[in-house]
């Protein structure tokens, strides 16, 4: 084919991309609205601004896990020709404290260092090279303190304290829940299994590292453009910590190059703000390199989980005892919320009448534990789903049967005693899985392996709560405008970090207002222009904002039709309909363009807003107000059943996932292609969590902080994924949908572990399942004296 013939006219592409000649429908795979700009390299991410006369800012970080800061010596740096200035906590006028629940993290350290990534000083320089060289020329002097490194040791009396003023030693949050007889019911069980599982620290590793730029505008207001999931909350945190009036700070959030929870909260915003206040009017830019992103950013909490699960001989689960420890690092950073969500999901999607759950979220001097897709559910799912298989094995019961027998149905109470009032598709997912060819053909598939490569299959049943729990409001404010030209402008409140909610917003508005996409403009989150709508997290982006958007678009539609009805002398709104570009009277056929209607409405009338607050649980399942505040319980849950088909190489311990099936209940699907994108992406991250990703920390120091030693799955590490959506209508969701952002991340680790157990009869209780751990378990299981030939 000639080079020229490989090109497609741009009009064709716009057609495909925005289907500009027809209204978008709910339930169709409208191509993503941002795709064209991304595939041509035109989107400007926060790191893409280079500007004029830009100052480069960078952070000098501690490099030690626990210490008192003695001196900062910048005398050598000051001699560097490109050096501008160095700022410390003394230059911070506000509280110098950040955090979502508990504000315990300094912008710049003023008392002591609590982890290697703690920020000590902010350096401003003329260019990137001068910045790096200046940072290297700054020396820090510390008095080392004994570090707190292990969660259980951190709770012993006499342990050094991470925060001297913390009310409960090194415990950030603890919780205890008891249902029924608690562990006294163990006596009534016919089968009891016990296990400890340890899951690792996982790095978000978004491709776009933390970046942004800032400047003071002509009105003296601080403007920050940054890669973030939380522009409105950031604004508050920056204002408080730097001592500014919230109204004097503006945060703009462009498309983000991935976040997954790692940009939920302040990362570099306060540094940018502090720098911009000190550059005498010049814009400032900051971009973390990969190593700094590893060092300073938050991680998935590593967990140690002690489980005891008991059942009756008829297969019904009878009691559960869980002790759960999360290493939250030195700062709150949503750690308590992760613990609460972990406790809530610790029993999985099952009916268990007698439960005792105890959890501790513990401060250490290790890297900061924070929000990461799955948010505590990923850890406990790994435990409950593995111990379920261990129980099935002990009872000689099929693992799918055991799950079907105990799976939650609507109206049941879950393991924390919460009645499931919303759509509950767990059994539907398991039933559909049981009929899928990947499951029905599993025995044939298992027998067709090659020598030394054993095949096995493993299940996982998953649930994930949506939103923030009963106390912290999960709200959104949508704003939709009929512009004076007669177009539609949607003020998107929740950041699109790759999950595609911009396109969902476009679909909703196009559908309600009956307009083609080429007449609809999206405004990205901007604290000056869009309205507070909460974080891009917790699987609530499209659920909560979508509901608000339906309200705003419907309000605007009513106003347009009412005014048009008056103008066209129609008796009622119902005689009129919005069509692309205008309003048509169905009785007379008369049509007027939207541009004309826009002139008939005042500016205020042309802008419709709607506030939506997500429903919360009515039941109070704990009297612990602190635990309630941290999110217990949720009320809307998504469900899924996963199946992993693996091959284990008995010569090397390598595990290869050959096929993967995910059957998911996330309500009605608004856009099947975007739905699949989320399922695939979550599974890929889960596969990394299962097999290759491990952020190793020794004595508080990271051992592998780059992408050659921290191993993300490549295109050859993720198999073909079969995804099926079980579309159970959720009445409270916009067009019946629920959250899909997180749930699929929770399946791979337990499904793969269960598959490895099926293949080789061994279980590795620590993740990831590296070749070394798997081979070690295989050889130990055989006893080294046995011969390999017995197992070919």
């Amino acid at each position: 084919m000639k080079e020229s013939e490989r090109h497609t006219p741009i009009t064709d592409l716009l057609l495909a991309q925005r289907t500009h000649n027809r209204i978008l429908s709910i339930g169709t795979s409208a191509p993503r609205v941002d795709a064209y700009d991304k595939v041509t390299g035109r989107v400007e991410y926060a790191s893409d601004y280079y500007g004029n006369n830009v100052v480069w800012a960078g952070v000098k970080r501690a490099g030690v896990p626990h210490a008192r800061l003695k001196t900062i010596d910048s005398s050598r740096a000051e001699k560097h020709p490109g050096f501008i200035c160095v700022l410390t906590h003394e230059n911070v006028s506000g509280t110098n404290r950040q955090g979502v629940v508990k504000k315990d993290q300094p912008v710049l350290v003023d008392d002591k260092v609590r982890y290697c990534g703690d920020a000590i000083a902010l350096v401003l320089a003329e260019n990137k090279t001068a910045l790096k060289e200046s940072l290297d020329l700054i020396t820090l002097d510390f008095i080392s303190l004994p570090p707190v490194l292990d969660v259980e040791k951190a709770m012993e009396s006499g342990s050094p304290l991470v925060h001297d003023n913390n009310s409960d030693g090194n415990i950030l949050l603890k919780g205890e829940l008891r249902i029924g007889l608690g562990s006294a019911a163990e006596e009534e069980c016919d089968f009891l299994v016990e296990a400890c599982f340890e899951t690792q620290r996982q790095e978000h590793a978004y491709l776009e590292t933390e970046a942004g730029w800032a400047y003071m505008d002509e009105d003296g207001r601080l403007v920050i453009v940054c890669s973030t999931q939380t522009p409105f909350r950031d604004r508050m945190e920056v204002a408080e910590s730097l001592g500014l009036d919230t109204g004097r700070v503006r945060i703009i959030a462009p498309y983000t190059g991935g976040a997954f929870g790692g940009k939920d909260g302040v990362t570099l915003q306060s540094f940018l703000g502090l720098a911009a206040l000190n550059t005498k009017g010049r814009p400032v830019k900051m971009c973390w390199d990969r190593e700094e992103s590893f060092l300073a950013g938050t991680k998935r909490h590593p967990a140690r989980m002690y489980y005891r699960l008991g059942a009756k001989k008829d297969g019904s689960l009878h009691c559960l005892d869980v002790r759960l420890y999360l290493d939250t690092g030195p700062y709150d950073h949503l750690g308590g919320v992760v613990l609460a969500q972990a406790l809530e999901h610790a029993g999985g999607p099952y009916r268990i009448p007698n439960v005792v759950l105890r959890g501790w979220c513990v401060y250490t001097n290790n890297p900061i534990g924070g929000a990461f897709r799955g948010f505590g559910v990923t850890q406990v799912t790994a435990a409950i789903e593995q111990i379920m298989d261990m129980l099935a094995d002990r009872m000689d019961m099929d693992p799918l049967e055991l799950r079907l027998k105990n799976a939650l149905k609507r109206g049941d109470k879950n393991c924390v005693g919460k009645t499931l009032v919303s759509s509950t598709g767990m059994i539907d997912c398991l039933e559909i899985l049981s009929k899928h060819s990947v499951w029905t053909e599993r025995e044939t598939w298992k027998r067709s392996g090659v020598p030394f490569r054993q095949r096995g299959v493993g299940l996982a049943a998953v649930m994930q709560g949506l939103g923030y729990g009963p106390v912290v409001p999960d709200y959104a404010n949508a704003k939709v405008e009929l512009t004076s030209e007669g177009n539609i402008r949607v003020y998107c409140g929740v950041v699109d970090m790759g999950q595609g909610n911009d396109t969902a917003n476009l679909q909703i508005v196009s559908h309600i207002l009956g307009q083609n996409p080429d007449r609809i403009e999206l405004v990205q989150p901007d604290t000056d222009r869009t309205l507070p709508s909460g974080s891009a997290s917790a699987s609530r982006c499209t659920y909560t904002f979508g509901n608000a958007l339906i309200g705003a678009a419907t309000t605007l539609m009513d106003r347009i039709l009412k005014r048009a009805a008056d103008f066209m002398m129609a008796a009622r709104n119902e005689e009129l309909v919005l069509v692309p570009g205008g309003v048509r009277c169905l009785l007379t056929g008369h049509e007027i363009p939207l541009s004309k209607i826009a002139k008939l409405l005042s500016h205020d009338e042309r802008v419709a807003t709607h506030h939506f607050r997500a429903p919360v649980a009515t039941e109070v399942i704990t009297t612990d107000q602190n635990l309630r505040l941290h999110g217990l319980p949720h009320t809307i849950f998504s469900y899924a059943a996963h199946l992993a088909c693996v091959e284990v190489d008995e010569l090397t311990g390598k595990v290869e996932i050959k096929r993967y099936l995910a059957v998911s209940d996330c309500g009605k699907v608004l856009n099947p292609q975007i739905f699949e994108q989320q399922i695939h992406g979550g599974i890929a991250q889960g596969i990394g969590y299962a097999l290759s990703e491990d952020l190793e920390v020794l004595e508080g120091r990271m051992l592998n902080s780059n992408l050659s030693t921290y191993l993300l799955p490549t295109a050859e590490d993720v198999p073909e994924i079969y995804s099926v959506a079980v579309e159970i209508y959720e009445p409270t969701g916009p067009f019946g949908l629920k959250g899909v952002g997180e749930i699929s991340t929770n399946g791979p680790l337990p499904a793969v572990s269960n598959a490895v157990a099926d293949a080789c009869g061994i279980r590795v209780h620590q993740s990831p399942l590296t070749p070394e751990r798997v081979l070690g378990a295989i050889l130990k299981n055989r006893g080294r004296g046995e011969h390999v030939e017995d197992h070919v």
Binding site: T652, L691, S692, S708, L711, D717, L775, H787
Partner: protein, 288 residues
Amino acid sequence: MREVFLPQRTEELWEILKREPETEIYAGGTDLLVKMRSGHVNPPSLVCLERIESLRGVFDKGKEVFIGACSTHSNLLEDPVIRKEFPGLTRGIDVLGSPPIRHMGTIGGNIVTASPAGDTLPSLYVLDAEVEVHSKAQKRRLPLRDFILGPGMVALHPQEVLWGIWLKKQPSWNVHHYEKVGRRKALACSIASMAALLELSESGTVVKARLAWGSVGPTILSFSHVDNNLIGQLLSIETLSSLAKQVELSVSPIDDLRASAEYRRTVSGLLLLRLLYYSPSFRQECDS
């Protein structure tokens, strides 16, 4: 700011090397530039070899093949002579890095970097590769196993450049094997690897054998006692299992971030069992 010299003729190269004793030489840059970024090396200037034509190419000289040191990995993957004569080496290059890294990285670079985990190295060892080293004054040729001295150390004197690799064609050998173990399927540093060159008779008896292991010692390791113990044997589980134990005792791996010494030791032996795939009787058994 550093000068970056890109000589096009060898005379230029010798002049620059004489003038810039502290310079560092690179071809693809996939090793050196990474080391510079992390601060491990900080040369005052750089010499890039990519424009010197005589440093590239694959030359079939009849009984031997000469590979220019700056031939990129993808040049070699696409070369019909390399693919036909040296399938084990081809396999090693196939699992090295990623496509863009293979477009930039060179076989010479892989040799001079002399990582114990270098993906081309085990195959080059079993092929009894020789290297040709040039300086302004002379050319010399020596076995690869004498050229690589230790991790990151090669027998290059100042102002000498690795010019190319000589490989003898090995038509009687009928098994050219390479396996790399990494912690993910691709783009992973090898944690254990094994190359094997075997001549099997029709019945599956080993007539000749050469094996070599990577990532289990300071350089590529091979053991004549292991090679010799295979001769005259049928490839069977018993033979290979017992040899595996000998190999475990002979290798000298270390603990590092990617794997423990114990794992490397165990796997270096177990990898021998993969050779069963080449045994006609084993294959027959499996098919039935």
